[in-house]
Symmetry: C5
Subunit: 355 residues, 5 copies
């Protein structure tokens, strides 16, 4: 089920460069919010339609952040992009939500695709959303499928003019939003790690049949996480190697820091994946251990009582001529024999360390 | 069986450059269809034999797409190729349907081999066909073994003059047909993913013996898919690195996009392969879990009733002198003892959490 | 056993460059056959000893192919080699049949070592033989341990002057013999693939204990095949990168083709190895499945009849005072109880889907 | 549990460059100890606060080693760093104790992060602490979370003016402290190896349920060790590639030696990880072997006595007309039959090598 | 235990460059033997102490080979090394017997560390010893821990002036001793391979509990072998890339040959490691097969006789009113019923192919 959640529609059969949304419509109307700021002032407003937006997409001294939420209305997206001279193939990529994270340098703009991770507080609630960026001189446009993002701390910092955010250009702002995305990876990975630990503790204390399914789900989520996070390494590396005109030397110091964080998330994901695989082994071992203990009881009980029952069976036969039956203490002798066999067996098992 | 389906005949023993078809004849006569177009006009017709075809294979302003279906008639293939000055080894490669996807640059032409994926709606119906391309200035010849391809959307676009297809040269057209092939990979992979999920759901809900065979088949198909798709990475990369005279800079933007798609299909195949391997583990675990539950019942039933049966056996012995038998309430005492043993066992199992 | 078959003797302790045959003598006398040809004429004869051979090893316009069969007579080999100015270490390599495939460029000659694969129609009959080449201007000397090679199609082509073989120089001829070796790899791999499939079918239809051993043998053969074929990639690549004086540009086109074939055989071997490993898993799964089914029968039979036997045992006790025994319909009531328990058990198992 | 021990707090949501300690407070007050030395003299003292420290952080001929213990007081750390012109992101890294080992070259200083390994005498006591270095011309500042380090041998050598330590500059001193850290890795790895061996011996002699948990813990510790040690390779390599002005050619000879040691620790960790994984297999095999032996006993006992009990049951039936019962030696004949069945079974098992 | 055998003492805590022997003293006194030779003459003698040795360590036309056996006397080693102007860190490396094979080029000398393999005729007798070389213009000093080496064939060749050995300089001699070491690897690997085969045959014919331990030991030895041999690849490669002044072009031809041998040993070790891992699978499979067969017998015996015993139990009940008991042929009818059930069961098992 996890898998189907993120499965994009097929674009197969369309001409290359056709604007075609491959996701599922998740909201009624496209929402366009704008944040405009420079060191002195900032303004924040929503645009009801594209027409009201376009005048803001001009080259000024302000950094302009346009957040477009909802990709099902292909026309709106196309209009915005064409205004910014974005290539048809880029538009196709923005609308195709099954993209791999990547960075593409075009003549007029930078195109970045990343995966935004959300949810994940319990297994099977991980939510992976595609986030596309178009970065021109002073404008950053972000595209996402539905409401809900990881940028609230950024908005707060802009409003409160905290940190360097208001003093810097759009390249630093691009860094800031990517940093927010990667920072949130840490949060998601922490959740993931806690889920792993919960399952592990549950396994060690009292393994249950349902744990097998949980392990299966978390293993699959680990694969999805890896798929979302792994290409970030190359992406952030390319970002740091861009021309100084696009990405200032000063910002690159921060990007090196971002790169370190990315490596750290990748390593964590790798360890989680290994741990998840190890959990299956652990489960198998614990289940097999439990089974062995149960079987041991059967073996011991059967091995002791089956021969004894046989002896009782012999003296339950109805032959007319069975001299032992007529002995005065025959019954006691046989009882004694049985007790001796019983004790002998117990001692045999003890010596073999099976008891 | 899947394996045999695609197994080419042996070419072993022939001199290098011998035209020798290694597949199995899948149709009666070679079909040659031609599509000729430029921005203004297009024509579409079949050629009954090679003679009627050759006059169309000349350098003009039209893009000429010749689709040759059926490779069993080596002479026909050879005639077409020799007319285009194709090297003997290339002809051998076209006829040897067990080729690995590759791109070869020759003086007069470009030679590309890819695998076209078809079918695959249920496990064991995956159909992998070799597709060879000869690209000269304005002519693209495609060779395939049997009727049925993934190019209908392209034909439609040519007829309806949709998109850029009619405005561009043969290098763009080469891109278009490769894109159609890779696009169809997505469709096949989606089918494959759904088959995987069906098996997975069937495993979790009610695992059956036949699932083991299905997993085996799908694992093998994943290997075949990987084999067909993996070399595409290098192929498309080489295509993007060709001289600008052969592949125009404009088309290369599209090829970069194609490259992204190829990487995506490769990643998907990798994940599917891992998932298929994981399915086997899952099956084993579920089967072993089920077995354990069954064994537990046996253990508990046996461990309880075997000792009780022994007690009954003791008092079924026919010794003349067994004082307990003569006790008035002996029977009830023994029944009471048995009930106590029974309850004790149940409690023991409960405390051990085996019940 | 397979392993011992190919195990060379130890050369440990000899000075480097000592001519010392590390294989086992497989024939009585060294056989030396010569094939001399140019575009117009050819001659074919055997040399009884080295003396009659040496006059033919001179620089002429003919291509001279000397095939030396049998390496146990170190002196003969040394004489031929010294005549051709071959380095002592090369002679040592020719006689040391445990070499890794490699290409070495020397001042006066080219030294190539490959593995010739033979046999292999059933598991455990794979035969790997070392083949060494010394290539000088117009002379190619091949060394092998015993009679039987893969060059009959070449001899036929020379005699019938088919293909390019008689028109080209010794560099092309070197390509031709390597191509014959690699071509035969395909044949061997096909045999191998069929063996794999036979085992697989046997496993699925009726797994037997002996299959385990067969899987073990075929896994080991896959490792040996890989070891023989893998280094060919580098070898053929080096061949294609030789100076144009040694390997003409024209021949290099053919070598590129040979390279493709080599990659194909390597990929096939890899898939076979994976398949062979997968077979073991399949065997384990099928065996475990079968076992589970058998165990299920035991469980069900035991779980049903052990409690019933206990009931029968109770009423088989010989207490004097057992009121139920004297009831008129006591027997029928107990029989009824047993039938009810029986039906209840069956229903329990049905509900649990164990039946 | 091991996992939680080292888990840093989340920094998610803070602006980049915010000084924020992500660890847990492990001591009351920050301790600052200073060691100042040159070839002739040395002094050693503690600074109660930052104010008393700062005058010592000036460019002189002395090597000044400042050891800051306790990171929970962000202000203190910040003051020291700003005095040394350390970048905000570096300060963030020092306080973020979940860093990956790395070396960063800044204009005014060198920033190194490594993991210091401590404890580890028994499984689950491994203690991994982050150690940050700031190296300027003649000053080395080390930051760690809590009291306890691996530098006592260094302090002793400084006091006793042993070795080269007092004669060299701060670059050599940087090497010396890194060498001390890596040297201690060997000690920790030795402990680890002994723990591995203890578990292994316990497994082979008398495997117990608790061993499974121990293997699980030690496997996880191996992963943590690898994570801590692996990046050291790159770090020490970068150190050796620094400009000769920062790292003198003379010191680089020592760094090459350090590099060898690092490789050795990495290799050892790899072998330990493989061994730990192998232990699980060993455990499984031993447990399964033990189980098989127990099962064999059950099988043999049951297979022998169940049929015998049946025979006894037959002659315990109460049919009025059972001629055998009336035979004079019927009982002995049946006893004889039983003994023969018994012996036959034993011989069958012996021949099958099950006994 | 194998592990402890080679475990060096800890050097942790010493200053870098401290001469400190990390092995265990294996002989009483250090033995110093000298071999001096040129093309015309040679002399061979032992030096009782360092003083008598030093005069021989001068630059002459002779090749001087000093073999120092026993490293526990650090002073002796230090004196020799200092005389040859060997760096302190190199001395430390010579005495630290846990080194990784490596080649270090110093200004005045070449420093090589390799592992000499000895013993290994049965599992658990593999003996790995560290061998250090110091090569200056005409002097080669070898250091080893205890008596016993692989150089007897070399000594013999020097004495008998066989091969090139007496005609060449010290660089060729360095090659010769390394070649002897690698040559002996082949011998050790052959032993190892035979041990593997013995275990394998024992497994297939009659697997025993002790085999599990043997597999465990041989797996660990394979890891140790790999660790000793793997770095040789890089070492020999570096040797071949040395300046022609140090390693003459003529000798480099031989080093290329040595490189081939090294690759061969590495490949063999890899295959052995894979085989050793495969053995564990084989063992598991064979053990599980045997177990299954045993279980099958139990299942069949129990499934047949438990229901029959029940029937006998029913007619052993003592109800007063059981009409069947009074039937004249009741006993025979029941016996007939039992035989029918018996035959039915056998047929059921036969049809299921469980018999």
């Amino acid at each position: 089920m996890t898998k189907t959640k993120h499965k994009p529609k097929l674009k197969s059969g369309h001409a290359p460069g056709t604007a075609f949304f491959t996701g599922h419509k998740k909201m009624d109307q496209v929402e366009i919010s704008v944040l405009k700021f420079n060191e002195e002032e900032f303004s924040e407003f929503n645009c009801p339609d594209v027409k009201t937006l376009l005048p803001h997409l001009t080259k000024t001294d302000n950094v302009v952040w346009v957040n477009v939420i909802g990709l099902h209305d292909e026309k709106t997206i196309e209009e915005i992009c064409l205004h910014l001279k974005v290539h048809k193939l880029t538009i196709e990529d923005i609308l195709n939500v099954g993209q791999r994270p990547k960075l593409e340098e075009h003549k007029d703009y930078l195109h970045i695709v990343v995966k935004m991770l959300m949810g994940g507080t319990t297994p099977d609630t991980l939510d992976i959303e595609q986030l596309s960026f178009i970065l021109t001189d002073n404008i950053l446009v972000t595209f996402q499928e539905k409401i809900g993002d990881v940028f609230d701390p950024i908005r707060k910092r802009i409003r409160e003019a905290k940190g360097l955010i208001r003093k810097k250009k759009s390249d630093y702002f691009q860094y800031i939003v990517l940093d927010a995305v990667v920072d949130y990876y840490f949060f998601i990975l922490e959740q993931f790690g806690e889920n792993l630990e919960d399952i592990e503790n549950s396994l060690i204390n009292n393994p249950q049949k349902s744990d097998l399914n949980k392990i299966h789900i978390i293993k699959r989520e680990a694969i999805e996480l890896r798929r979302a996070i792994y290409p970030m390494r190359e992406l952030v590396n390319s970002l740091g190697n861009l021309d100084d005109k696009i990405m200032s030397a000063e910002t690159k110091v921060y990007i090196r820091d971002l790169y370190d964080h990315t490596i750290q998330t990748i390593e964590t994901v790798e360890i989680f994946r290994e741990t998840a695989v190890g959990l299956l082994d652990l489960y198998m071992n614990i289940a097999s251990n439990k089974m062995n203990e149960i079987m041991k009881v059967l073996t011991i009980v059967s091995s002791i009582f089956i021969p004894l029952t046989f002896v009782a069976g012999v003296y339950g036969m109805n032959f007319h001529n069975m001299p032992e039956l007529r002995l005065k203490y025959g019954y006691y002798m046989i009882l004694g024999l049985m007790i001796m066999v019983f004790i002998g067996m117990i001692m045999f098992f003890k010596r073999k360390r099976w008891l």
